[in-house]
Amino acid sequence: MGFLYPWFFVGLVGLGIPIFVHLLRKHTTIPQPVSSLMFFEHGIQSSTRHRRLKHFLLFALRFLLLLLVILAFADPFLRRSASPKDSLLLVVVDKSFSMQAGSRFTDAKREALETLQNKPRSQPAKIIALGGHSELLTPPTSDTAELIAALNTIHVEDSYASFADLSRSVHALSDSSSGAIELHLFSDVQRTAMPDNFAEAVLPDKVRLTIHSVSGHSPSPNWTVESTDAPAEVADPANQSVSHVKAVIRGFATASAEKTVALLVNGKTAVTRTITIPPGGSSSVEFAPFHVSYGFNHCEVRIEGSDSLPADDVARFVIRRIDPQRILFVHSPTDQRSPLYFETALNATKSGSYVLQSAAADQTTSIDPTKFAFVVLSDSTSLPSTFEHALEQFVSNGGGVLITLGLDAERRKHIPLWPGLLQQVHDYSAQGGEDVGQIDFTFPAVEQNKPSRGNGGWAGTKISYVASVDPSGARVVAKLSDGIPLLLAKQIGNGHLLLFSSGLDNITNNLPLQPVFVHFIDKTSEYLSDTGQLSGSRIVDSFVQLRSPAANGREVSRVEVVDPQGRRPLSLTEGRTVQTFRLAQAGFYKIHPANGREAQFGVNPDRRESDLTPMSPEMESLWARSNDSHPGPQRGVTPAARYRNVDLWWYIMLLAFVVAVAEILLSNAYLSTQREEI
């Protein structure tokens, strides 16, 4: 018998209360003064003793009640030997990318099979495949044949396994299961699978973890292409500033080595480089320029030679060669400054694969916006109706439009394409302009991974003139210091609207003269033209959007996905309904989303899987005992006798309730007797 919370025995001090009330207080009775004792008689001793005897029973009940309550809070339990059939056997097999190294996966399945065959026949078991998402393969069953069949369906994948995900799955399973759980993990127990926050991996109390490591507890040397930096789209392959690929080659537990790295374009080696990689370190290699043909080009950076995990010696990405994209810049007839500033910034961008075509608002009647990557409406609130209608169709089908509101906006409250009217104009010129306040740097048009000092470079921007619009239904990306929205985003159909509530003419603000203007135009162009969304690289288990959430099931066009093996994983029904798709395999995917724009991606495993260094034995031991509130010798890793705790507090509280009722009845009886005596 033990106690889960023995410190509640401090409450035993409270037992002094009934002792004081019943015994000590008797001896400290305060004498009562009377005029004379001549008429009083000394109390009959036997009567007083009888009363004290009755009180002793009450005292005993009260003493017992307090003792039981304290005992219940200390949570006593009986430790009984748990028979195997009482617990649920949980067999977890790691199917992550790192299990492709050597014979790890085969060993894991073999050991799991042995465990299933050796379990008591009546013990229920479940099979879980641990990968990008933990997959429960069987319901609780004691049928060994069914369990073995489920085990054989597990195949190694390209996904990343996290023990935090395993912990979450086991917690969910534990909540729905009443008995103890014996968890047997068959894995290479990579140290990278353990989350940074160890608490996320802690298992529930009633789970006993046994780790079956198949990595041999020794790190395996492995090289990998840790990262690649390549453009998703190239307009001019000869331009070295754009047309170059940079790759980082990293070794894990490796000695210093010379490695030959090749860039393959559409399966053909384009360039090779030889680099020296320091022990357990990394080196970068660049390929520039290189030739790619028009359309999608499947590129790979490949390390020659072999190592423990050859599958991660290649990094895949897709480069799309396109002609420079045209941008339609619609401005008011009197405004010649805005297109000038915009074009200058556009030419200064990193990609530089855009051509600006500017047109006055009254000359847009015959222009077809679908021929442009995106459209800019610079202070053009009055558009020919045919062009405005064409723009609506353009946006609805996935096009992007940037709307800016300059000095002409106030004359006409209507804003083309935008659902609301212009509400009010704020003029800050008298006070030297208003600062830009809060900016959502996670939004693609102003995206900065680590915003630089001075509010990401926006600190020097002074807004003199801004038109406020109704922000309902839109995402406010940037605000002025006084809370007036400056940049709003809205999705209409499959397209995007971006509303900058000031101008681009250096009159309504000084943004065009700020360095951040180039970054803003670059990111805005990428966002509105979907550059980078149709090609590039992704990580296994990431999701791609197949249709806009705004479509909300109204869309009937079918999407199509072709996986690296050339199969179509989506059924016809799924092709009409699903909004996102999980990239489950490494390789090249072809996707035809609902907006008709084909996309191709190179998909690579999570590089944390490339570090084959196993978890240290100390860490394994710590994890196995992390849920153990009673430290004991080597539990979990080397399974000792199993015990089952039987809680007793419920029975003790029941007894305490009975004693409390008896105490109430007895004390009531005493009180009524005293009333009669008076």
Binding site: F40, I44, Q674
Partner: protein, 295 residues
Amino acid sequence: MERFLDPAILASISSLDLVARTVVDGFVSGLHRSPDFGFSQEFAEYRAYSPGDDLRHVDWNLFARTERLYLKRYQGETNGQLVILLDASNSMQFTSRRPSKADYARYIAASLFYLAIRNQHDSAGLIVFDSEVRNYIQPSTRSGQLRRLFAALEQAEPRERTDFSKPLEHFRAQLHRRGIVIVISDFYESPEVIVHALESLRFKGNDVVLFHVLDPHELQPVMKGPAILVDLESEQTMEVVPESINSSYRYKLQAHIDDLRSRALAARLEYQLISTDQPLDSMLRDYLSLRKAGA
């Protein structure tokens, strides 16, 4: 009137003078409606002249009309004397509610002094005693007597034990004139001893009244459980159980009261049992009736 004679209300008045005035004025205003009592200098009767009578009392107007000599008689022609023996022993400080027995006794004494001196023009004196005579104010009608009496009452704080023999010896030595003697005490003494000590006063022609003052909790004690009791005078302690209160205590107390009353009556002493929650007018009524009988 009752409202002003309630002891609990009087206990909130700190000045004995004011207490006495409140009690007596309230009492007298009630008497105006009563035909049974009169005051001195009021006409009582005519009596035929007999030789030797003082001619100053002859009603010459009546003689002019009837040619017969009649003497005109008045009530209370002579001034009485009031002496109060006040018990100031420790047992008098027992109280279960305000006022205590000692305070209640002082209210009685003060009211009687006020009535006697201010209303009846009697001489009044005081003996405060416990086991000894602690204070003695000789009976007098001099101006300032009432103030002296009140001052003596103020100083009569309870202490020591009760002993009736010594103050009575002192009193007998000082007493030269008959009058009314009022003993105010809780009489925690053998009735035989009490009556024996006081009956000598009666033999000398005094009207003796015993005011037996007890607290309501002495008459009807309440005890919720076994308790330790301590005697205020002897400081002896005794463990007592409630059962004995319900049986022996009440029986013994009643026997004591009955014995004291019967022995007092046998010795022609007036006896009155008073609870400290009673109004004070009954005591004043007794005094006036005694005075009238004496006149």
